[in-house]
């Protein structure tokens, strides 16, 4: 796939002009490779606002609704089919988010235009980022008219960043004008700014740069390759989300700063895709083994360290007092465990002594990155018939009924890969080979591999993105036995009491 991209794009690469035609040509290539299953009658931006709802193909058997549903399920699951192996991740992150505010952002391939869409999504992104990474820090910058501007300083307070992003369009002071997209972006300036901002990030944290780039060019004052090299030396990891087409230079930046892995460079096809790509970066990055070639004199990068942190208790006061963080009068807050200074909200660094103050729940919030919920697998009709599941284990949504078994099952091995059952060995002849969207289950069931419970698509998405628990595993008797006393009488007593008490009590009659 990447080969195609490079070939397609490399023609445009030299033409560093974000002209409409160049844009289209390159975008066509990207689309063709990305959305290979789809028929492309119209370009996405030529259709209406609801373009996404018509981007489906009719199933080979003419069943429109079913193919739609499968598409939908596949789309929902797209983000889930990754991380299920516990790997070491950089939980403590330092991230610079760089938004493109160049002319190219005035393109209207997203409605109303890229600029507004990006600003909206960036705000949602900041919120989500701090949900997922409560002990991380962020800084927002913008590429505007050849320069890189710092919008907010490195901090762990999402409100600051959201205010800064909103300030792009609606500046707080009347003297400033709204920053409309202008000029061309400079990746080199952006990287140098980010490198400087992250210079002080401690060695146990990650240094990440996330760039949303709308333009198909970079107007640099010097040699960007030198900048890339120094970024690599400084352990920066750059992720780029492009629009319209892939750029060779972006690919190079991502590959070089991510140890050869350029999968962090994505090009969004539409608004939904932009959001997905952005949200994908909220997951902490994996920690790679350090290259052995590094000079051993300096401390190893990614050195784990023991951090001193304070776990302050909340206080409520009868008289208001000034908080150290905003100089506001407040009636309560958290007292720094070391210097007894009062701060309003956690997590933050103590303004007085600099110690990190957090709640233990903030640490717990990151645990799911370390112990991820394993992916659930698609369930074939055969497997569904075997277990006879009729409804979702968690939310009790009814599944579509299992069809009557046909001679050899009309299922394909593709969707059946890991349910643990043996598919019919005798080479089942495909009676009606229906190409399903990848990732969608033909029976609309998804099975947890450890508890063998079946769940619906919504619970699958919900449990993997929000809850991070498997309702089936946690509610089944599979825990290791612990010591306790045997008293079966308790049960008998309870049962007896229930029969007598509830029926005799007549608590129901409300009238």
């Amino acid at each position: 796939m990447d080969g195609e991209y490079i070939q397609d794009v490399s023609d445009d690469d030299g033409v560093e002009v974000a002209s409409r035609s160049g844009n289209n040509g390159a975008a066509g290539g990207a689309y063709g490779a990305r959305a290979r299953g789809r028929t492309r009658a119209k370009e996405r931006w030529e259709s209406g606002i609801q373009a996404d709802s018509i981007a489906f193909g009719e199933g080979p058997d003419g069943n429109l609704a079913e193919s739609l549903e499968a598409e939908e399920q596949a789309r929902k699951r797209a983000r889930l089919r990754q991380d299920n192996k516990p790997v070491q991740r950089g939980i403590i992150r330092h991230v610079v988010l760089i938004l493109d505010l160049s002319e190219a952002m005035l393109e209207k391939d997203m409605r109303p235009n890229r600029y507004i869409v990006t600003i909206n999504h960036a705000q949602a992104y900041v919120r989500e980022f701090f949900e997922q990474n409560p002990i991380s820090q962020m800084c927002v910058m913008a590429m505007h008219d050849g320069l890189c501007i710092r919008l907010s300083d490195l901090s762990g307070n999402p409100a600051d960043h959201i205010a800064a992003i909103q300030g792009i369009r609606y500046p707080k002071s009347a003297r400033q004008a709204a920053r409309e997209p202008k000029g061309s972006p400079s990746l080199q300036n952006a990287l140098e700014m980010a490198r400087a901002a992250l210079y002080h990030a401690p060695s146990h944290s990650t240094r990440e740069v996330i760039i949303v780039l709308g333009a198909l060019l970079s107007n640099d004052p010097g040699d960007i390759h030198k900048t890339i090299k120094s970024c690599v030396n400084d352990r920066l990891r750059v992720a780029i989300i492009g629009m319209g087409a892939r750029l060779r230079i972006c690919q190079e930046i991502c590959a070089k700063t991510n140890a050869g892995d350029d999968s962090v460079y994505g090009v969004c096809q539409d608004e939904k895709n932009l959001r997905e790509l952005l949200m994908a970066t909220t997951t902490p990055p994996v920690i790679r083994q350090t290259a052995p070639a590094l000079p051993s004199s300096e401390p190893t990068p990614n050195a784990a360290s023991l951090l001193m942190m304070g776990f302050p208790s909340r206080v409520t006061e009868s008289t208001p007092s000034l908080c150290a963080c905003h100089n506001n009068l407040t009636r309560g807050g958290y007292m720094c465990s070391r210097c007894q200074v009062k701060v309003c909200s956690l997590p933050r660094a103590c303004p007085s002594c600099g110690m990190t103050l957090i709640l233990s729940t903030h640490l717990a919030r990151s645990y799911h990155h370390l112990f991820p919920l394993q992916s659930w697998v698609e369930v074939s009709w055969k497997r569904a018939r075997e277990l006879g599941s009729t409804e979702c284990q968690a939310c009790m949504t009814h599944f579509p009924p299992v069809p009557e078994p046909q001679e050899p099952d009309a299922m394909q091995e593709g969707t059946d890969k890991s349910t643990g059952t043996d598919t019919a060995n005798g080479a089942p002849k495909p009676v009606k080979q229906r190409p399903r969207a990848e990732g969608a289950s033909e029976s609309s069931r998804y099975e947890c591999r450890s508890c063998h419970c079946h769940f619906c698509i919504d619970c699958d998405v919900y449990c993997h993105t929000v809850l991070h628990n498997c309702p089936g595993c946690l509610s089944n008797p599979n825990t290791a036995p612990t010591d306790a006393e045997t008293n079966p009488e308790v049960v008998a007593e309870m049962a007896a009491g229930l029969e007598n008490g509830v029926n005799g009590g007549e608590p129901m009659d409300m009238e």
């Binding site: 050849g146 320069l147 001193m308 233990s360 112990f371 009729t390």
Partner: protein, 377 residues
């Protein structure tokens, strides 16, 4: 699922009625704990009181829904609505087939259904508990029950939300993912929800057992999920002692009440009615009980000491009460450098030569250093 009696019909034309509310009750049915409570508050009485409470909740609004989950030892089980166990032969049955008793003439039909199903399921849960189950564990599966409850709420919210098909979308700025495939027909009864006002949900945990330490991570995950969905977790702590549930109530904006004395427990119904009946909208206008001090201090992983200032491994986030002797994390085994934690503070020597003012504030422009001007760390 509760449209079985057709009361939904009347709701549709009244637009100014309060939005429906879903109450999910998690009843801790840990036999060990209830055995201890049996003198003052037997389970049967608690269930009777709970049913009155549920009926009161349902009486508020036609569209109000209720769900009850038993958090038993070793498993969590639906009490209401009744789940359909997996069957090998696919012969769909009706919802409440067990024993179709003729409906009582003096009882609101819906109350009767809930009462019957809840009692049937609860006695089934109890009768299925074997002696081996009791010996193997003394804790309750609160994490499983919470996970089920939250999944159910997520689904119910999704079904009732006006246009957003993904109930887990975080805010309104996201693209509306509504599309024609998702016309939310309630699969239970097949009726399209014509008028869909947002559903407010809450979870009430009636907890009797303590010691949830084994389920720390799943419980915490559930709490964060609830926080994100803005589902308050109300906790009625009849016995036992857990900080988690108090933190859960605090983090999600729920009510935490712990009637500890036996006489207080006898007034269970009053606690339920006064403390937990108002839904999230009504609570905005009321002064809710609780709001005491919450202990947020952490327990260290090495000695279980409660600490103010701890040392945290940057890899696995384990908390220790003192710098480790060998410099090796006890949980993940990573070699940890102590530099940042202990040594760094005194070593802030101002070095005037290095204090070159970098102009980071506003605009660097084209004057950014071309070469690797910034030295590596």
């Amino acid at each position: 699922m509760n449209a079985i009696d057709g009361t939904d019909r009347h709701v549709r034309d009244s637009d100014n009625s309060p939005p429906p509310s879903l109450l999910t009750v998690i009843l801790d049915t840990n036999p060990h704990a209830w055995a201890l409570l049996s003198d003052t508050l037997p389970l049967s009485k608690a269930v009777a009181n709970l049913l009155v409470f549920i009926n009161a909740h349902l009486s508020f609004n036609h569209a109000n829904q209720v769900a009850v989950i038993a958090s038993h030892i070793q498993r969590a089980q639906w009490l209401y609505p009744t789940p359909h166990p997996p069957r090998s032969s696919s012969s769909p049955e009706e919802n409440g087939t067990s024993t179709p008793t003729p409906p009582s003439a003096t009882k609101y039909h819906r109350f009767a259904i809930i009462e019957r199903e809840l009692q049937d399921n609860l006695s089934r849960v109890i009768s299925q508990t074997t002696a081996a189950d009791l010996t193997s564990s003394t804790t309750t599966q609160i994490a499983g029950a919470l996970s089920i409850a939250l999944s159910h709420i997520s689904r119910a919210t999704q079904l009732s939300s006006p246009n957003d098909s993904s109930g887990i979308s975080l805010d309104s700025t996201g693209p509306t993912l509504s599309n024609p495939t998702d016309t939310p027909t309630d699969p239970a009864d097949g009726t399209p929800r014509a008028r869909r006002s947002p559903l407010t949900s809450r979870i009430l945990i009636v907890s009797v057992s303590g010691d949830l330490a084994a389920q720390y991570i799943p419980v915490m995950n559930s709490i964060f999920a609830a926080q994100r969905q803005r589902v308050p977790l109300d906790v009625l702590k009849l016995a036992g002692d857990t900080v988690f549930l108090q933190q859960a109530a605090d983090a999600t904006g729920g009510v935490y009440i712990a009637p500890s004395s036996p006489s207080a427990r006898a007034g269970l119904l009053q606690y339920l009615m006064m403390g937990f009946l108002p839904d999230a909208r009504a609570r905005a206008a009321l002064v809710m009980p609780g709001g005491g001090e919450v202990d947020f201090r952490a327990a260290c992983f090495c000695h279980r000491r409660v600490v103010d200032v701890g040392f945290v491994c940057s890899v696995c986030l384990s908390i220790f009460c003192e710098p480790l002797e060998e410099g090796e994390c006890l949980t993940c085994g990573t070699r940890l450098s102590l530099g940042a934690a202990v040594a760094a503070k005194p070593v802030v020597v101002p070095r005037p030569k290095k204090k070159k003012k970098r102009k980071v504030g506003d605009i660097t422009g084209t004057s950014t250093p071309m070469s690797a001007g910034t030295p590596g760390p």
